[in-house]
């Protein structure tokens, strides 16, 4: 089985503090891993490390093409949501449908609520078609319907041979294995 994300003896230090070391795991097709831990334990840093946006102090990270949804929306605030999403390419209408925001296509991004913005960020990830998804707090600001849809897209992605690394302190719908980071 080919691995989509592999951490080998990874250590990360931020602001002079060692967040973790000797971290090892592999994500293959159809596998998900939930990173948990208290605030400040390095969940988001681990996600950025997996994305290649941070470099580890020690060890190696191998990754396949990926898509990232974190706190930064990365959509032009003055554009209608549909056009803003299509800048990043992929099957935008289907992704918006999956997240239940198809009716917002003509609404400017700056007018979205925080829950709608979260759905938009997840729609960008779905549309990308990347095999590896990195999700930072995917359930934040979502209502019951939103959480259900996230569970659905996660299940679909895993069934289609994708892999997911998600940082969340809330239980994820599919209850994947957990990686606990210390504070």
């Amino acid at each position: 089985m080919t691995s989509l994300l592999r951490f080998e003896e990874v250590a990360l230090r931020r602001g002079g503090r060692l967040l973790f070391e000797e971290l090892e795991f592999t994500l293959g097709a159809g596998e998900a891993l939930q990173v948990t831990g208290p605030n400040g334990s390095g969940k988001s840093s681990l996600i950025r490390l997996a994305a290649g946006l941070l470099r580890p102090q020690h060890g190696r990270v191998e990754r396949s093409p990926l898509a990232l949804a974190d706190d930064n929306l990365a959509l032009d605030a003055d554009l209608p949501l549909g056009r803003a999403l299509s800048f990043w390419g992929g099957d935008v209408p289907r992704a918006m449908e999956a997240l239940g925001i198809a009716h917002l296509a003509e609404v400017p991004v700056r007018l979205l609520s925080s829950g709608q913005a979260k759905r938009a960020a997840l729609a960008r990830v779905v549309a990308s078609g990347a095999p590896l998804w990195l999700l930072d707090e995917p359930l934040n600001a979502l209502d019951g319907d939103g959480a259900e849809r996230v569970g659905q897209i996660i299940a679909d992605h895993l069934r289609n041979g994708g892999a997911i690394l998600a940082a969340s302190h809330q239980p994820l719908p599919s209850e994947p294995p957990r990686l606990e980071l210390g504070a």
Binding site: G52, L53, L54, D70, N72, A74, L75, W88
Partner: protein, 205 residues
């Protein structure tokens, strides 16, 4: 992706305030006769230099929105994840920035030259000098925008960094020394994508 990014940055510049630096440029040019008096001979002597100073300060205006909004909004991260090298991002942004202010500046130089009592020949040489110098100016502005992105009071800091570094362009441009000005402009344009790329990588936290 590069063409898409250029088109997107251009759209942002023109739906934003692309005309603001141009109005500023004209305003500075209009102030010069008030400052040194209406003597046409004196005005036409200092005119080309005044146009250059106006162009420099106009180029400085948009520096804060060239890189910082895209860094804070995660756009630079997503471009990296889409496989675009930071240097390519920088190149696309330089092209878009140049297109958003240089053609307008060249047009605005015509009414500005009338305010400064420049004759047709002086206007033509200044236009050519601006055409040669503005790519270097755009590159410099972008590199400095990236270096100062995310810092407090980035706007004032950018001014302190940009104006001294633009002095060679100013000297050769105002003296109509096209070859030397072209060399400086080329050097800045060739070097800026790498400086900008390194600065973008360094701002990632």
């Amino acid at each position: 992706m590069t063409a898409k990014l250029i088109a997107r940055d251009l759209r942002r510049a023109f739906t934003g305030a692309a005309w603001l630096p141009i109005v500023f440029f004209l305003l500075v040019a209009a102030l010069v006769p008030f400052a040194i008096g209406p003597d046409a001979r004196l005005l036409s002597r200092v005119g080309p230099g005044a146009l250059w100073i106006a162009a420099l300060t106009a180029a400085l205006l948009p520096v804060e929105r060239l890189v910082e909004p895209d860094r804070a909004g995660g756009v630079l991260d997503q471009l990296f994840l889409n496989g675009m090298a930071e240097e390519s991002v920088a190149f696309a942004k330089i092209v878009a920035h140049w297109l958003s202010f240089a053609p307008l500046l060249l047009v605005a130089a015509v009414p500005a030259s009338a305010l400064l009592a420049l004759d047709g020949r002086a206007l033509a040489t200044t236009e050519i000098a601006l055409l040669i110098g503005t790519p270097g100016l755009a590159s410099l502005a972008l590199a400095i925008a990236a270096v100062t992105a995310g810092l407090p009071r980035a706007g004032s800091l950018a001014g302190l960094l940009l104006l001294p570094l633009a002095v060679p362009l100013l000297i050769f441009g105002a003296a109509d020394a096209y070859l030397l000005e072209g060399a400086v402009s080329l050097l800045l344009t060739a070097g800026a994508p790498f400086v900008t790329g390194a600065a973008i990588r360094a701002t990632r936290t």
